[in-house]
């Protein structure tokens, strides 16, 4: 009996992260359900589609639940070139202002979402066998991240591009990059920033300017930000109640089911809901950090770090932009925002983390 209990506890703790991510997924579906009752998007059935994605993700969990993450190292030789091809296709085929999708019939996917995970694995695999303190290694690392970074940046997808930078910094930091190297990189960035400003699309510059002063154009560029603030602020302490949000329901806030989903939480559940939600997410991210800490295997450690940075980056930037302390760069809130690619990548990341936790301790 005792043994059985211990086994169960173990099995729960092993799957702990995956189970925990399902709490976030469940919260996300509830919020989406509320959002789906709003106008405009009600007919599109995005809730159904999201549930479908959750099922596909769960299928992956079932298949890979016992896989060894170390198999990924070899896979990067296939996946890394493949994702570069996909990103190039998006860039060439991309129609409209910010086309990020590739379609195969009914199935659309966003290569930039998958690129994050693949870059994490590729960079981790590379650095796990070399010393970043050596200049050529640092240089090659920069190339590994730099190519997809530029492809994504040109899409243009500023948000994901920033995540790439964070991923690089995170992994490089854990891999032991020196202070000198960091300062050097920092100087390069500072010096090249005018160049960056030059390649930026007009609307990206506008967004940064709008962030500095949202009242520049309250009905145009500043509209999202202003409406987001109104939505969050009007939630008050306990919120307007589940499914009672006027701002999101009446579509004053555009894209409330994707990038601005946090507003729905803030409006309907108030500061109390926000506090609980942020703490849950914080706990989740801390759990990943624990895995980073426990993992002795370099490759596992770096991958876990990369995934942590990816989640934390999304979390902080997404919330930061919704509450107006970061420019609106258009990245989703993992597990919560509507979007298949993002959800699948998030679930795959959690599977990998769980595998790292299980296998890295075997040594």
């Amino acid at each position: 009996m005792k043994q059985k209990l211990k086994y169960m506890r173990n099995s729960i703790s092993e799957k702990n992260l995956i189970s925990f991510s399902y709490i976030l997924i469940f919260i996300g579906l509830c919020i989406l359900f509320s959002a789906s009752k709003g106008i405009v998007l009600a007919k599109e059935g995005f809730l159904i589609r999201q549930i479908l994605w959750v099922l596909i993700g769960t299928f992956f969990v079932y298949i890979f639940r016992n896989s060894d993450y170390r198999g990924l190292e070899k896979a990067t030789y296939i996946f890394y070139p493949l994702i570069l091809i996909f990103l190039s296709i998006v860039l060439v085929k991309g129609e409209g202002r910010a086309s990020r999708w590739i379609g195969f019939g009914w199935f659309y996917f966003q290569p930039s979402e998958f690129a994050k995970l693949i870059v994490i694995i590729t960079l981790s695999s590379y650095l796990s066998r070399r010393d970043i303190r050596r200049f050529p290694v640092l240089f090659t690392s920069l190339i590994i991240v730099g190519i997809p970074f530029l492809l994504v940046f040109k899409q243009p997808n500023l948000g994901t591009a920033i995540i790439f930078i964070l991923i690089f910094l995170g992994i490089a930091y854990i891999a032991g990059i020196t202070r000198k190297q960091l300062i050097g990189l920092f100087l390069i960035v500072i010096l090249s920033s005018p160049l960056l400003w030059a390649i930026m699309r007009e609307y990206q510059r506008e967004r940064i300017l709008t962030f500095i002063n949202p009242m520049r154009d309250p009905l145009g560029k500043g509209y999202n930000l202003l409406q987001a603030k109104i939505t969050i602020g009007s939630g008050g302490f306990i919120g307007k109640g589940f499914m009672q949000g006027t701002q999101t329901k009446l579509a004053f806030l555009p894209e409330y089911h994707t990038d601005f989903i946090f507003c729905v939480i803030a409006e309907e559940f108030g500061f109390l809901g926000v506090l609980i939600f942020v703490l849950i997410y914080y706990y989740f991210l801390n759990k990943i950090l624990e895995i980073v800490k426990e993992t002795k295997d370099d490759f596992g450690k770096f991958v876990a770090t990369g995934i942590f940075v990816m989640f934390a980056g999304h979390f902080l930037i997404n919330l930061g932009m919704t509450i107006g302390i970061f420019p609106i760069v258009g990245i989703p809130l993992p597990f919560i925002s509507y979007g298949g690619s993002s959800l699948i990548v998030s679930i795959l990341s959690v599977i990998i983390l769980s595998s790292i936790k299980n296998y890295s301790t075997l040594f």
């Binding site: 106008i39 405009v40 995170g170 930091y173 854990i174 032991g176 409406q227 603030k229 109104i230 939505t231 969050i232 602020g233 009007s234 939630g235 008050g236 302490f237 006027t246 701002q247 329901k249 009446l250 579509a251 004053f252 806030l253 555009p254 803030a266 108030g270 500061f271 926000v274 506090l275 942020v278 914080y282 991210l285 801390n286 950090l289 980073v292 800490k293 770090t305 942590f308 940075v309 934390a312 902080l316 919330l319 930061g320 509450i323 107006g324 302390i325």
Partner: protein, 575 residues
Amino acid sequence: MEREDFLKKFLFFFTCIILVRCFYLQIVRYPYYYQLSIKNCIRVIETGIPRGIIYDRNGRVLAKDAPSANLVFVPYDIKDVEKVIEILSDILNYDRESLRKKLTRKYINPFDRVVLKRNLTSLEISLIEENLYRLPGIFVQEDIKRVYTFGKGTAHLLGYIGEISKEQLDRLKNKGFKMGDIIGQDGIEKKYDEYLRGIPGGIQVEVDALGHQRRILGRKEGTSGNDIILSIDATIQEIAYEELGEKKGCIAIMDPRNGEILALVSKPAFDPENLISYLDERKHSEKPFLNRVIKGQYPPGSIFKIITEISALETGIIKEYDRIECTGIMEVRDRVFHCWKEEGHGWVDINLALPFSCNIFFGTVGMKLGVSRLIEFAKNFELGKPTGIDLPGEASGYIPSPYEADPLNLSIGQGPITTTPIQLLNLISTVANGGNIWQPFIVKKIISKKGEIIKENTPYLKKTVYIDSETLDILRKGLKNVVEFGTGVRAKVKGLEIAGKTGTAQRAATEIGLPTHGAFVCYAPFDNPKIAIVVFLDYGSSPEAADIAGKILKRIFIPEKMEEGNETETEIYEE
């Protein structure tokens, strides 16, 4: 290991910042953002501006409000323009191009409703509502329309209401007018707009970002404007309108004792409830929007002989029985001057010259008088000057300077001189009342809904012209004979003594040979004038005009004799 701890601290630090920021937005700034969110989703949709009722002198309703429905659209919501045009052009019977133009125009606020068509018929409403599911962004919205009891019959008198124009908006912006507001565009509706217009009512609705109405939160009824009582007698107005028939021209009827306008008709008229069909005709030569009574400027023709006669007698140029021979033709220097009667009137004195409207007689008299004196008298009788009637856009007419006119033409009212029909009505009234020039007016009283008198127009004596009683007698006798046996004989009514004068107005010297304008002014009863009439016919003859005036007088006075002291009699202002 310190590096992982750094990541932990990093995460903790920024999570704290996010929570602090949320605390600030949701707790500290809550009231501010809450107000903004309410403002976002609550909108007041105006349900029209109620206007006061316009009554005639006897309390008959001439214009009032009635509920109506408008077709409105939210520009932002019109995605499939072609489909909308396809459906609406059939239902509304609208031209596709103008519809497309209106739907695709750039609007300042694309979320605000724009009126596509006012006053939908019940058929249109049901057709649109059937198709509403295929027309996102299109709504039927309640409004107020204006109903005119006599329709075209009072078109020029009351005017019409319509959407504020850009020029008007620029002028009236400070008074709280805004785009899409309905204001009086002509006539009494325009002149007294500030009194008539009320405070708009509205429904408070919850709307989404696209302006879609989600639910109605409240309703505020509008406050009607003030009512107006006119000096117009609807019965007489109707009579005048009927008698003018299909002819182009105008009729105005006034009380010569005080300047109250009893009727004012101009044709062709427009339908004030259905303007759209007339808008294309605006440029049309028929000018349905032109109020000929106050805006038509014509040479007065022989009616001006009244002035010539008064000047001649007053200055003593001619005595009552001085005779002049009319051979039908007169040569003055190098010019040949014709009387309208080719064979001439023979030897006539002033008592016969006026009834027969002899041009040779008055031309000769005019030559003796000289241009300056004629002009002086004409100006003394306020010709060539707006009468000051309370309608917008009154024209002044034109009295030439002594250098522009020659006495022959001027003495018979031809040449560069022009007057408006209302001025001639004033002239005949002055003759009727013995020298008083009253300012014609239409609005008697403005009364608030509570019954308080806001404004009351009392008769205003602009000036009194001294006319010797002997002159007046001769003139009046002559005018009576115009109807008895002269040029205005068709105005004759059995049992009623009428004094009048015909006039054939040539538009301008260059237009000689073209059809002329026939006019007739008169007053009755002769001994105790109560009614003065002017009839002006575009391209008509003066006997026709006299005929119409006679018929009107007959209908006003003859039944009145049977039932003594009926409505027109009792209400008319007693001096």
